[in-house]
Amino acid sequence: MEPFIKVENICKTFSRNDKQNTEVLKGISFQVNKGECLGIVGESGCGKSTLARIMLGLIPATDGKIIINGEEQKGIRLGSQMVFQNPNESFNPRKTIGYGVGEGLKNKGVPQDEIDEQIDYLFDMCGLQRELKNKYPHQISGGQCQRAAIARALAMKPDILVCDEATSALDVTVQKQVIELLQELRRKQNLTIIFISHNMALVEMFCDRAILIENGTTKRTFGPT
């Protein structure tokens, strides 16, 4: 069976003034099946987030390609969504949480009444009280904000969710709630999840397989091959 995501020999070099080159990724390859959860682990600065940004098309790779569902990915793909590490900072501080969750739909030209309906649905699904829609990011807790960030990602009906240290800034009990939500979403929606974390125990508990990145290459893989 053809894998859902095929990452082939991804390389990324950052250049400073065309003089100093930093080679962050030196040929990363892996495959992920539909509905699978792949953990990506490694030290801070090893290139995990760079890889995530390349997979979403936020930054270009220096070399290599990403094939999703048989098509080579070029640029941003709406079917892939990301949940960032710091939930509060990933929302516009001057807009309400409800606005933030529905902004993607608004940009897609969805009518406002439909957006409102979707926001209610997403809030219910992510275990958020509907009255939080009118709150600003600083008025809600980190856990609530991260749930809202997941709701915002799900609003675009993604088939791939990339979680970049999505639970690192949360308390252990809130982390458990967010993981339980992601597990439920996987079951219900057959979401494919790329879970980036430096919490080894969490990755082992939550993911089906994992890769360890070191010095820009895949050092080891864990789980069934």
Partner: protein, 268 residues
């Protein structure tokens, strides 16, 4: 017998009439490590801030006292506090990178911090700091001295923050979530550094964390807080092995356990 040299005695703190810390008491002996554990909003950081005298202006201490080396810290004036901060009570922040000035080198900032408390020349500070960097196994101490905080990793910034606190050799160190933002390798380094400080300098440490998994690696005692109230307080081994409060059990259970799939995931 060890003397109790720090006593946080029945302290209550309010913010705009809302109780943030509710009659909390604990004590530490010399060379002892206490872990303050609880979720966001449980009052951990408020307790730390009250000890070092940096509560926000709307924070009000309604009762209790903090006795440190025989004196009540709550009766100190701001000027007196300035002589205590750094020299007598050191502090490591969750985000050392954020606590450093971004446009000055590490060396510059260490020099300023040390010279604020000791009559010592700049070359002497540098010599003392580089000696400590060597002792702490920092690679390229000279390069580190000239680095800016943004040029260092999160773990390295945190280690520099600890080194800065160690240079002044405070008898009490407050560490507010020093490992929360770090990967396991950097966490190991920071915990090792703190253990060294306790073992070699006899420093007493209060470490704030929401992660129960680091408690057995460093703490002698643990105090579990919820909504400003003490849920459990006692020897770390006893509280972790035999938690009495449901809340402590909940915190212990929320920590993911490795090894279930036999992956042996490690960064080492």
């Amino acid at each position: 017998m060890n003397e109790t040299f720090f006593d946080y005695n029945s302290v209550s703190i309010e913010f705009d009439g809302k109780v943030a810390v509710n009659s909390v008491s604990f004590s530490i002996n010399k060379g002892e490590v206490l872990a303050l554990v609880g979720e966001s909003g449980s009052g951990k950081s408020t307790i730390i801030k009250s000890i070092i005298g940096i509560l926000n202006s709307d924070g009000k201490i309604t009762e209790g006292e903090v006795v440190f080396e025989g004196e009540n810290l709550f009766s100190k004036k701001e000027k007196e506090y300035r002589n205590i901060r750094g020299k007598k009570i050191g502090m490591i922040f969750q985000d050392s990178l954020g606590s450093f000035c971004p446009i000055r080198t590490i060396g510059d900032q260490i020099t300023e911090a040390v010279r604020a408390h000791e009559k010592i020349s700049k070359p002497e500070v540098k010599a003392k700091a580089l000696e400590l960097f060597h002792k702490l196994n920092f690679s390229e101490p000279e390069k580190l001295w000239k680095s800016y905080p943004f040029e260092l990793s999160g773990g390295m910034n945190q280690r520099v923050g600890i080194a800065m606190a160690m240079l002044l050799d405070p008898p009490l160190l407050l560490a507010d979530e020093p490992t929360s933002a770090l990967d396991p390798k950097a966490t190991d380094m920071v915990l090792e550094e703190l253990n060294n400080m306790r073992d070699n300098l006899g420093t007493s440490i209060i470490i704030v964390t929401h992660d129960m998994s680091i408690v057995p690696r460093i703490a002698d005692k643990v105090l579990v807080l919820k909504d400003g109230t003490v849920m459990e307080y006692g020897k770390a081994t006893e509280v972790l092995n035999n938690p009495k409060s449901d809340y402590t059990k909940l915190l212990c259970d929320a920590v993911p356990v490795s090894g279930r799939k036999g992956w042996n995931l490690s960064l080492k």
